[in-house]
Amino acid sequence: MTNVAQEIAVESQHAAEAQAADPESKGAKKRNTLFAVAVGWLVLVFSVVLLGWIFGDSLPFLRDPDGINQDALNAGPSWKYPFGNASFGEDVFSQVVEGGRVSLRIATVVTALGIVIGGAMGLFAGYYRGLVDSLVRLVINVMLSIPALLLVIFIVTIRDQSEITVIFALTLLAIPALARIVRASTLQVADREFVKAAEVLGVKRSKILLREVTPNVMPTLISFAFLTTGIIIVVEGTLSFLGLSVEPPTITWGKIIAEGRIKFADTPHMVAMPGLIIFLTVLSLNFVGDQLLKRFDIREASL
C-alpha cells in the first residue's frame, strides 16, 4: 500500500514540525479547534450509521433505501431529501447511511486485524531482531511490492466477492504497512535507556517486550490506526466503485457513486454527496491521526 510514501511524508513532516513548532502560538489553538471538529465529525458519522443499523428506517430521518418514489426521479437535493434522489426516486441519504454500514465495518475490522497481526510482527521483529527480523522484513517487502489495488482486485476475483474475502484482502494490505511502522518505532524504543536498564537488571526479554516496549509503541500504533482506517475506507470505496467489492444488493459508498456516474448529467448529487462524505471522513481520520502523532511525540523533551 504505498501509502508508504504518504507515511514517510507524514512522519518526516511531523519530525520537522516538532522542531519548528511553537506550542504557544495561535496555530496550536486553531489546530485544537480543528481537532475537536474532526473528532466531532467522526462521532457523528459513526453514530448515525450505527443508529441506522440498529433502528433501521423506523428512525424519522431515514427511509427505505430501496423505496421507489415516482414523484422524485433523479431529483436534486431538497429539504425532504437532503442528498437528493436516485433514478427510481430512492432516498440517497438513506442509501449513504446504509452504505456506511459496510464501508465503516470493513474499515474498522481490517484496522483491528492489521493492528493485532501487523503490530505483533513489528514488535517481534524490532525487539528480537535476528532471524525473525529478516523474515518479517522479507514478508513486508514482498507484500508491499504489489500495488495495493492490484492485489485486492486479484484476491477478490480469484476468490469471491463476499465481505470475508474483501476483509481478508484489505487486511493483507494493512498488515505490512503497520508492521513496518511498528518495527521502526520498536527499534527506537528498544534503544532507550529504560529498556537497556531492564535488560541489565536481568528481566526476561518477553517481559520487557510486553511491559516496557509495547506501551511505548502503542501511541504511534494508535495514531497510524486512524490513518490506516482512512486508507482502507478509500481502497474499499475504490473497489466497490469498480464493482468488485461486496456483491449487490448490499449498498456501499463506492457503489452509490458508481451508480450515479452512469447517468452523471442527471444525478451529479449521487456522486457528489457520498463523495463528500467519504472525503470528510477520510480527512478527519487523517487529521486526527496526524495530530495524535504530534501529541504523542515525546522526544525526551522533559529531560
Binding site: A16, N141, V142, L150, G254, F279
Partner: protein, 406 residues
C-alpha cells in the same frame, strides 16, 4: 525485440550499479531484490492454484468429462465451449499441475522462451501485441501526471518551506473573510454553480496566502495539500469529469490520440486524466519536500551561506533543495505503486484503453495467466526501480551503507 532492448538496458544498469556501489553491496541488494521478485511471483502463482472453485463446481466439471481444475478455462472460453477446447486450454495453461510445476512452467515461458502468452484466450490475441498497443497510453499518462505533480509540488514546496520561518503578513486580517463574503454574494446573485463557488473560495484563500506570506501562508498551503491527500482518486476523477467533460465541453471523452495524430490532439486527449493522477500525487511530494526543506533550512550551513552574503534564492535552490532532491527521488520510486493504483481507476473513469483497463477486463474474464504476467511485470518494475534508487542513494550518500541494518 523490445524485450531484448529492455534486457540490455537492465544489464547495463546492473553493471553500473556494481561499479558504483561495490560488488558486495550490490550483490546483497540485487540478490534481495531477485528473492523478493521470485517470492512475489510465486505467491501470485500459488494463490491462483487455489482458485479452482468450490467442490461442487469441480465435481460438475468432472462429470462433463473435463479436468476438475478447468474453471478458469470455462470462464475464459464461455459456457458454449466444447469439451476438446476446454481440455486443450487446460493443457495450455498447465492447470492440472501442482503449484511448483505451474510456477516453473510459467517462469520458463516468460524468461527462457520470452513469450508473454495470450492477452485473451478466446480470440488468441498475444499479450505482447496488446501491451505494444496499450502500454504507451499508460506510460504517457504516468509521465504527464508526474510532470504535473512535480511542477506543482516543487515550487509550492520551496515557497511553503521558505515562508514557514518568516513573519507573516502586511495584509490585515479581515481581508480573507471579506473577500470570501464578497465572492459568496457574487456567487449567490450571479447564479454560479456550487462547484465553481467552492473553487473560487479556494482560489481566494490561495491568493490571500500568497500576498500575506509567512507562517499563515505555509499553514494554508499545507492544509490544502492535506485535504487533497484525503480525496480518493475516484472522487476527484469523477468530479473533474463532471466539471470538464459533462457540465462543460472542455475535455472530450473521445479516446486516446497518439503523438502521430499531432501534438495538440495528443495532449487534448489525455490532459484531464493526467491532471487527476498528478493532483493525487502532488500533496505527497509537496508535504515531503516542505518538511525536508524546513529541516535543511535549520542546518548550520545555511547560516554560513547567509553570513557569506549569498542571496536567499541561491541558498534555497543550490544549498537546500539539492539534498532534498534525493529524498524526493526515493518517494518518486515508492510512488510507482500508487501510480498503478491510480491508473487503474483513472483509465476506468475516462475510458482510456491503457493497461489499467486491460487489467480490469482481464480480471473480469479470468485471464489469470496474463494477469499473473502483468502483476509480475509491475512488481518487477517496482522492485527494480526501488533497488536502483536505493543503490543510487548509496552512491550519492555513503552514510546509507553504514546505516544498512536499520
Amino acid at each position: 525485440m523490445i524485450l531484448v532492448l529492455v534486457l540490455l538496458v537492465v544489464l547495463a544498469l546492473v553493471a553500473w550499479i556494481v561499479y558504483a556501489a561495490g560488488p558486495k553491496f550490490a550483490l546483497k541488494r540485487l540478490g534481495g531484490a531477485v528473492l523478493v521478485l521470485v517470492l512475489v511471483t510465486f505467491g501470485v502463482s500459488a494463490m491462483l492454484s487455489f482458485t479452482s472453485g468450490e467442490e461442487s463446481t469441480r465435481q460438475a466439471l468432472e462429470d462433463l468429462g473435463v479436468s476438475r481444475n478447468a474453471q478458469p478455462c470455462v470462464t475464459a472460453l464461455g459456457t458454449g465451449a466444447s469439451v476438446e477446447n476446454v481440455n486443450q486450454c487446460v493443457d495450455d495453461r498447465n492447470l492440472d499441475d501442482n503449484v511448483v510445476v505451474q510456477y516453473a512452467k510459467w517462469a520458463k515461458q516468460i524468461v527462457v522462451d520470452r513469450d508473454l502468452g495470450l492477452a485473451f484466450y478466446k480470440n488468441g490475441e498475444k499479450l505482447s501485441d496488446t501491451m505494444e498497443q496499450r502500454l504507451p497510453r499508460t506510460a504517457w499518462l504516468f509521465l504527464y501526471s508526474q510532470l504535473t505533480a512535480l511542477l506543482l509540488a516543487i515550487p509550492l514546496g520551496i515557497w511553503s518551506a521558505y515562508q514557514a520561518g518568516r513573519g507573516s503578513g502586511r495584509l490585515p486580517k479581515w481581508v480573507l473573510p471579506a473577500g470570501v463574503g464578497v465572492l459568496l454574494l457574487i456567487g449567490i446573485f450571479g447564479g454560479f454553480r456550487l462547484t465553481s463557488l467552492f473553487a473560487l473560495i479556494i482560489a481566494a484563500a490561495a491568493v490571500y496566502s500568497i500576498f500575506a506570506g509567512g507562517r499563515l501562508a505555509d499553514n494554508n498551503t499545507n492544509f490544502l495539500a492535506f485535504a487533497l491527500l484525503s480525496i480518493p482518486v475516484f472522487v476527484l476523477g469523477e468530479t473533474l469529469r463532471y466539471a470538464f467533460a459533462i457540465e462543460r465541453d472542455i475535455y472530450q471523452l473521445t479516446g486516446y490520440q497518439p503523438w502521430s495524430a499531432g501534438a495538440g490532439e495528443h495532449i487534448k486527449s489525455i490532459w484531464l486524466p493526467a491532471l487527476v493522477l498528478g493532483l493525487a500525487a502532488t500533496p505527497v511530494y509537496l508535504r515531503l519536500l516542505r518538511a525536508d526543506m524546513i529541516q535543511n533550512l535549520q542546518q548550520d550551513f545555511v547560516s554560513v551561506a547567509k553570513a557569506k552574503g549569498m542571496s536567499n534564492t541561491h541558498i534555497l535552490l543550490r544549498h537546500v533543495l539539492r539534498p532534498s532532491t534525493v529524498t524526493l527521488i526515493t518517494v518518486l520510486g515508492l510512488n510507482i505503486a500508487q501510480l498503478v493504483n491510480g491508473a487503474i481507476v483513472v483509465e476506468f473513469i475516462y475510458d482510456l484503453d491503457g493497461m489499467g483497463s486491460y487489467l480490469i477486463a482481464a480480471f473480469a474474464r479470468r485471464e489469470f495467466f496474463a494477469v499473473q504476467t502483468i502483476v509480475a511485470l509491475v512488481a518487477a518494475l517496482f522492485i527494480f526501480t526501488n533497488t536502483l534508487i536505493d543503490v543510487l542513494y548509496t552512491a550519492v550518500d555513503p552514510r546509507v551503507k553504514a546505516d544498512d541494518d536499520r
